[in-house]
């Protein structure tokens, strides 16, 4: 079928067009969508774009970051306010990809992509969309994606994301991001690990531990048992060992072109241990 494109005046209009045509897709940075176009993906023939200013802004309000869905990785890297996300953004693709790939697009990037989404999950990020301007946890979006990945069907009415919100870590050293890939300096993730250990910078007992893995399931996932093993503990060898022992709980690694399920399962605890011992952002 012949491709069609539509440039909507704003995000609301884009959502209306997308909702009305099951064979439509939203183009953010295009890094995933245009690949599908180039490969002749038959599941859509309408490409919808919009340049609504509210998806382009990046600001700090109190201690919360507000990131427009169309903010690119490069724009994040250029903002000192978003420093906590730099480790993740810096390792997405190469320079050209970073100029194109958007935060919003990364939320929908299929495994093994989605490094930034992994970092955002560990920061308890929320999102607003055209249909719902109350901030929702990212988990709900990922759960929606996971259902459809298993069913092999596209999401009928994918939310048009407007903005992401997250609180910055109290101390830089509390948040670590580790990307495991075979090709340096740029490669697709075997896995990505984001850990938020509030209190670790001061040696205090950890509160609200978050450990998120990317490329270990259909979407970024939290290693819930590993989090529980660290909760209320001080960060040290015993608590790290307890966490890595249950690293895989909550994760569903699979085999793809980058790595096998077996390999991912085998190395995940090792890399989690490294992330926990990192002592600072990588």
């Amino acid at each position: 079928m012949t491709l069609r494109t539509e440039c909507a005046v704003n995000a609301v209009e884009a959502a209306r067009v997308l909702g009305g045509d099951s064979r439509s897709r939203l183009s953010a940075g295009g890094t995933l969508l245009m690949r599908a176009v180039n490969e002749g993906d038959p599941s859509f023939d309408l490409i919808v774009r919009h340049a609504d200013p509210q998806v382009l802004s990046l600001r700090l309000q109190a201690d919360r970051l507000h990131i427009g869905a169309a903010v690119t990785m490069s724009a994040l890297l250029a903002s000192p306010d978003a420093a906590c996300l730099h480790a993740a953004a810096r390792q997405v693709g190469g320079p050209a990809i970073r100029n194109m790939a958007t935060v919003g697009g990364n939320l929908f990037a299929p495994s093994p992509y989605g490094d930034l989404a992994t970092a955002l999950l560990a920061l308890d990020a929320t999102y607003t969309s055209v249909d719902d301007t109350n901030p929702r946890p990212l988990e709900s979006l990922f759960a929606l994606r996971a259902t459809h990945t298993v069913a092999g069907s596209p999401i009928a009415r994918p939310p048009v994301v407007l903005e992401l919100q997250c609180r910055r870590p109290a101390a830089e050293a509390d948040f670590r991001f580790l990307k495991v890939s075979r090709v340096k300096p740029k490669g697709i993730s075997v896995m990505a690990i984001a850990v938020h250990l509030p209190g670790s910078a001061t040696g205090a007992r950890l509160q609200q531990v978050r450990i998120a893995f990317g490329a270990m399931g259909a979407t970024p996932l939290r290693a819930v048992s590993a989090e529980r093993a660290l909760e209320g503990q001080t960060l040290g060898e015993p608590s790290i060992a307890a966490a890595t022992a249950v690293a895989l709980d909550g994760l569903h690694p699979d085999t793809d072109a980058i790595a096998s399920r077996w390999y991912r399962q085998t190395v995940a605890p090792v890399h989690l241990g490294r992330a926990l011992r990192a002592g600072g952002r990588r």
Binding site: T2, L3, R4, T5, C7, S27, G30, T31, M34, R35, V37, N38, E39, D45, I47, R49, S74, G93, G94, P95, A96, I97, N99, M100, P185, K186
Partner: protein, 162 residues
């Protein structure tokens, strides 16, 4: 199939072209505009052979919707030389055996030229990072890195243009 009008400034020249909806910039540059310097290697943003700049930023033409560059400045490797006078990077690539089959070369040059414009004296690590989105199957990258560093040293004496 109705076409979409796109106006752009290509390597400094005003151009206008009609593109198919959904057509990517690589295809439009090569087929509609006759600029054969960016190449097709993967169509998925992995190889970097299609690297161009849009409004001065490196982009992958194969992943760029052509109609999205309406009103933009697009620069390709065809615009590096000034007539018969080569860009300092082009000279450096020739001097340092930085091309064998030549297929990745135009993409490499665009990434390198943009780097040197923004960072006239890059470190080796910065060069490696700048070309991290460009795959070369022939040279093993070292001659390319050497060439870019050599060009950087040369460009501090003012012989480069970008």
């Amino acid at each position: 199939m109705s076409k979409v009008a796109v106006r752009l400034v290509l390597n400094g020249d005003d151009r206008a072209v009609f593109v198919d909806p959904g057509q990517n910039l690589l295809d439009v540059l090569r087929r509609e505009l006759g600029d054969l310097t960016p190449k097709y290697g993967c169509g998925q943003g992995t190889c970097g052979a299609c690297t161009v700049t849009v409004d001065g930023e490196v982009r992958l033409a194969c992943l760029t919707l052509a109609e999205a560059v309406d009103g933009c400045r697009v620069d390709t490797a065809a615009g590096l030389a000034d007539g018969a006078e080569l860009h300092v990077l082009q000279e450096a690539f020739m001097e340092h055996f930085a091309a064998q089959c030549g297929y990745c070369t135009t993409g490499m040059l665009m990434s390198a030229a943009t780097l040197l414009r923004d960072k006239p004296s890059p470190s080796r690590d910065e060069v490696v990072e700048a070309i991290s989105g460009n795959i070369c199957r022939c040279t093993g990258y070292e001659p390319i890195i050497d060439a870019i560093l050599a060009a950087a040293r040369g460009s501090t004496t003012g012989s480069g243009r970008r």
